[in-house]
């Protein structure tokens, strides 16, 4: 199973096995990682699963939809590598993915 590394705002590092086909958000919720709230359950409606994708991985993830881009412009402290983790589908190619979680969801 692909392993995703979640780095919380306080620096805590969680390496977690996430089932291929599910989302980076689901991996965090399944493993009770603080910092991803995911109020809408992954329907791209709430932007409470905002994360920063490690620069080395940004190009390996399909780009955000217009809806996601619009949502990301409104989160606190958006960056070029901001994504909604519910919209990142985990695949075998993403084994080793690193995401950082923002202060606002901490």
């Amino acid at each position: 199973m692909p392993v995703v590394t979640y780095i919380s705002f306080n620096g805590a590092i969680n390496d977690v096995e996430v089932q291929s086909g599910t989302s980076v958000m689901q991996g965090a919720v399944d493993n009770m990682i603080d910092g991803i709230v995911a109020e809408c359950g992954g329907s791209c409606s709430c932007a409470t699963c905002h994360c920063y994708v490690d620069e080395a991985w940004v190009q390996k993830i399909p780009p955000a939809s217009e809806m996601e881009k619009d949502m990301l412009e409104c989160v606190l402290e958006p960056e070029a590598n901001s994504r909604l983790s519910c919209q990142i589908k985990v695949t075998d190619e993403l084994d080793g993915l690193v995401v950082r979680l923002p202060e606002s969801q901490f």
Binding site: V29, M32, G41, G42, S43, C44, C46, C74
Partner: protein, 409 residues
């Protein structure tokens, strides 16, 4: 000393989150979640959408897999109903006769559908939509070309209508009020949803009360007060929900439309918390007692309730928000629009499928309905929670970025 035990009654959004939050907040003792359905906590919103269409399966709906509850030692007892609470002896009495002692208790009993006591309501093919089991019973009746009648033009009714239409059924929505979504939105929004549904080929008929269902073995007709009748192979009734407060009221807890909780989500018993659809709380934004039916409220109250049960109380002061997906429309709603005295439209609901409606009261934004307009929703939330006065002309002008309506950070 024996291990302390917290029992959570209810295993949906609120109950599941409450149990997990208890562990996260450091509850050391036993945690037992009791649910009357046969499934671990699952996401309900997809039931009327991708689960109805068959795109999603039960395992896709689960909020967390079974292994995660085991990992943090949360026991889940499914398919069990609680018959009574004994607060004196601190016991939960199951309907099967067993009793279980608690130190702390959380009520997350949710709500159930309001049923219609009409002739023929028990015919085959007449359904409600609340649970996985409901949708599994509906599915055999879902067939392209067949006729579906939806009773009730609220969010559940309209979402179901949209999905059945997309599957290729002939869909008629019957709403008793003069317009759809009348309880929750402005007439402009109702007219918009009417237009979209008719563009998509669904008939929305308002101002008509259903009075009977008829058919031999299964339903084939829906009768109305005005004498009209509609052919139906499938009927889905969506006329609201009722909070499950009986356990609480029989146990003598304060109930006022929902189980009354304070700002820490504690009931009138210091050992009992409550969260989700079954509760009512005094809302600080709207300065009145409210019962909310939403995922956001269930999850946020669950977290606050867990904190209180662990003696680390937090205040519940989240802004209510909701969403509804129909066809290619993503409606995001922040705040509650009741009591608005002015509506500001940004974009035109009369054409196209993208606009936002801001509800104002005394010059301040109290709610927003944003259709395919996530920025209006996200920044609208901030306008509401900061209780800012806004320039109506700027708010109505889609060329002025929403961001610029907020004071610079």
């Amino acid at each position: 000393m024996a291990e302390t035990c917290c029992i959570v009654i209810g295993a949906s959004h609120a109950g599941g989150q409450l149990a997990v939050s208890l562990r996260q907040e450091g509850w050391q003792g036993r945690i037992l979640v009791i649910g009357d359905e046969h499934y671990l906590p699952y996401n309900r919103p997809p039931l009327s959408k991708t689960f109805l269409s068959g795109e999603k399966h039960v395992e896709d709906l689960l909020i967390r897999p079974e292994t995660q509850y085991e990992k943090v030692n949360i026991e889940v007892m499914l398919g069990q109903r609680v018959g009574r609470l004994d607060r004196e002896r601190k016991l939960v009495l199951l309907e099967d006769g067993t009793d279980i002692a608690y130190d702390k208790l959380a009520l997350a009993t949710g709500s159930r559908v309001r049923t219609l006591d009409l002739p023929g309501a028990d015919l085959k093919g007449v359904h409600y939509l609340r649970n996985i089991a409901d949708v599994e019973n509906i599915r055999p009746f879902v067939m392209p070309g067949k006729k579906a009648v939806i009773v009730g033009g609220g969010y559940i009714g309209l979402e179901t209508a949209a999905m059945l239409r997309q599957i290729g059924m002939d869909v008629t929505v019957l709403e008793a009020a003069e317009r759809v979504l009348s309880r929750v939105t402005a007439p402009e929004l109702s007219a918009f949803y009417n237009r979209v549904h008719s563009e998509e080929g669904a008939d929305v008929i308002t101002g008509v009360g259903v009075n009977s269902f008829s058919g031999k073995k299964r339903v084939n007709e829906v009768g109305c007060d005005d004498g009209s009748a509609y052919d139906a192979d499938l009927v889905i009734i969506g006329v609201g929900v009722i909070p499950n407060t009986e356990l609480a009221s029989e146990a003598g807890l304060e109930v006022d439309n929902g189980i009354r909780v304070d700002d820490r989500c504690m009931t009138s018993d210091p050992d009992i918390a409550a969260a989700g659809d079954c509760t009512s709380h005094f809302n600080t934004f709207y300065q009145r007692q409210l019962r909310l039916e939403s995922v956001q409220n269930a999850m946020d109250q669950a977290r606050v309730a867990a904190s209180a049960l662990c003696d680390k109380p937090n205040q519940y002061n989240a802004l209510p928000w909701f969403w509804s997906d129909q066809y290619d429309l993503k409606l995001q709603i922040a705040g509650l629009s009741q009591d608005y005295d002015e509506l500001v439209l940004r974009g035109d609901p009369g054409t196209g499928r993208k606009f936002a409606a801001f509800y104002l009261r005394q010059g301040r934004v109290i709610a927003v309905d944003a259709v395919n307009s996530p920025q209006e929703f996200m920044f609208g939330k901030q306008l509401i929670s900061k209780m800012l006065e806004v320039d109506r002309a700027d708010l109505a002008n889609p060329d002025i970025p929403m961001r610029s309506l907020l004071p610079r950070a």
